[in-house]
Amino acid sequence: MKYLKDNIFNNPTELATRSGFGEALVELGKINDKVVVLTADVTGSVKANMFAEKYPNRFFNVGIAEQNMIAVATGFSLEDKIPFVSTFGAFITGRVWDQIRVLIAYSQSNVKLVATHTGVTVGEDGATHQILEDIALMRVLPNMTVVVPADFNETKKAIFEAVNFDGPIYIRLGRQKSPVIISEDSLFEIGKAQKLKDGNDVTIIACGVLVYEALKASKELKEMGISASVLNMHTIKPLDIEAILKSAKSTGAIVTAEEHQIAGGLGSAVSEVLSQQFPVPIEMVGIKDEFGISGTSEQLLTYYGLRSKNIVESVKKVVKRKR
């Protein structure tokens, strides 16, 4: 299966994943009249404005009241609607975690949670807005599915999948534009990792904006004579254990890469599987138990060591540790 677009390293188009959400919503509004959208005073920021204009009767701005928004969305779901709830990552996870835990996860309510501003790429707003713990917070909840699309195209696919998917799902998006790398027509299946590059020496498992960095790293590594496989782990839960084990067995070393705390995030999830089922050396690229700071998103990706060069360094380390 070919997942990637051609020429992704040559001036790729850049679009924000949140824009993919906005576009998908409009299309969904047309084909599924059960879809309702809720937001909390951030309509334009989450790109729900187009849906709001076209389907004003199915759009609800609850004001700056996220806890109530989660409860109201649950009510909609009980009346057979399909609510998409969206606000900044910090305020749709940490702020409302108990509501999500009881009303949505425990109750298996069919509510779709879409976080639009996550990670350090939120940029200048700084630490309070740069949620780096959301994957952990959602992943730990029973019954919750957690998806981190790699780009704009994958976001659209994930949103379409979410409608037909029965149950709670958390989709993590970003504010900043990032390269569009996944082709429009490739298959997207919740819970099925995508092998973007074949390789023998190491497997890089990445999610979100770090997938592009992982691909760049594999290219740089190739020039150094290291053959790296790249997995796009767009679903953090349920984790594609089969794909991880298969790749670990063939390459014998793993590097994970995410724009999130390593603790509780993708790195943790992957190592939980490997340590129990097939221990191999693993290195993790991600946030190391720190809060964010203000800066441009480009500056911060570098500042926090989330670049291809950091992945390359980790690969070199992990390959040395191979027996």
Partner: protein
């Protein structure tokens, strides 16, 4: 519009500097919350140059009045007031929102002197102020706790948990105020999630409620003085302000809640600020 009296001229002058800094630093940062910051400039100037009992040379002075910014997004006016009050150099203001700056997009209490607690997630500061006020009440301390909240922010349920608590505990040492500009990100508060009758709500939660024009320095001074006289209840001052005041193109336009002005916008803003101050009698 009435002319200012001599005894407050100095405060008015500072408010002008603060406004101009707000415009310049947000322009320089290319992002930031300008509307609330400009609208609150008069109140923040009065706080730091008249009302608060504080010592910038000793930010942790035990007897200081405490100030909590619950609506953390208006950091630019907060920083400008703190800088002009000499908590840190005015020249540092231009580092707003830049990598490795102490002036984070939302206030960071660990880095910046004068900031009591980090905020930026709406609806949290008022409860912190309640805790400080109750602590002072129990210890029979005489300092006061001031707290700024947004009107949009008042849609958060947590604000009303704090409101009930402060009323119940009779925190008369707590003086909170609302930036009643009727604007939040998506438009008018009354269209999005109605707050009115807002004064009645606070009264019903056992607060002393005052209201004033939040863009009139003398009125702001008087209202804070009146609030200090309250002996049994916490006080909520509804300060009626205009988003972006006195910049006319921002008035009532929610886009200016959080958009940085471009070069042309800045020119007009500075011009209108100059005109406003000369109209009220400042050269």
């Amino acid at each position: 519009m009435h002319k200012i009296e001599n005894k407050i001229k100095n405060i008015v002058e500072i408010s002008k500097k603060i406004r101009i800094d707000v415009v310049k630093i947000i322009h320089n940062a290319k992002s930031g919350h300008i509307g609330g910051s400009l609208g609150l400039a008069d109140i923040f100037t009065v706080l730091y140059f008249h009302t608060l009992n504080h010592d910038p040379n000793n930010p942790n002075w035990e007897k200081r009045d405490r100030f909590i910014l619950s609506n953390g997004h208006v950091a630019p006016v907060y920083y400008s007031a703190l800088a002009h009050a000499k908590y840190f150099p005015v020249s540092e203001l231009l580092s707003l929102r830049k990598l490795n700056s102490r002036l984070q997009g939302h206030p960071n209490a660990l880095d910046l002197p004068g900031v009591e607690i980090s905020t930026g997630s709406l609806g949290q500061g008022l409860g912190v102020a309640c805790g400080m006020a109750l602590s002072a009440q129990k210890d029979r301390k005489t300092h006061r706790i001031y707290c700024s909240i947004g009107d949009g922010e008042s849609q958060e349920g947590s604000i009303w948990e704090s409101a009930m608590f402060a009323g119940h505990r009779e925190l008369s040492n707590l003086i909170a105020f609302t930036d009643r500009n009727f604007i939040q990100i998506d438009g008018n508060t009354e269209d999005i999630n109605k707050l009115e009758p807002l004064a009645d709500k606070w009264r019903a939660f056992n607060w002393n409620v005052l209201s004033a024009n939040g863009n009139d320095i003398q009125e702001i001074i008087n209202t804070f003085e009146q609030a200090k006289l309250e002996k049994t209840k916490p006080t909520m001052i509804l300060f009626y302000t205009k988003l972006g005041f006195p910049v006319s193109y921002m008035d009532g336009v929610s886009k200016w809640h959080g958009t940085a002005p471009n070069d042309e916008d800045v020119k007009i803003a500075i011009k209108e600020i100059e005109e406003y101050y000369s109209k009220i009698g400042l050269s």
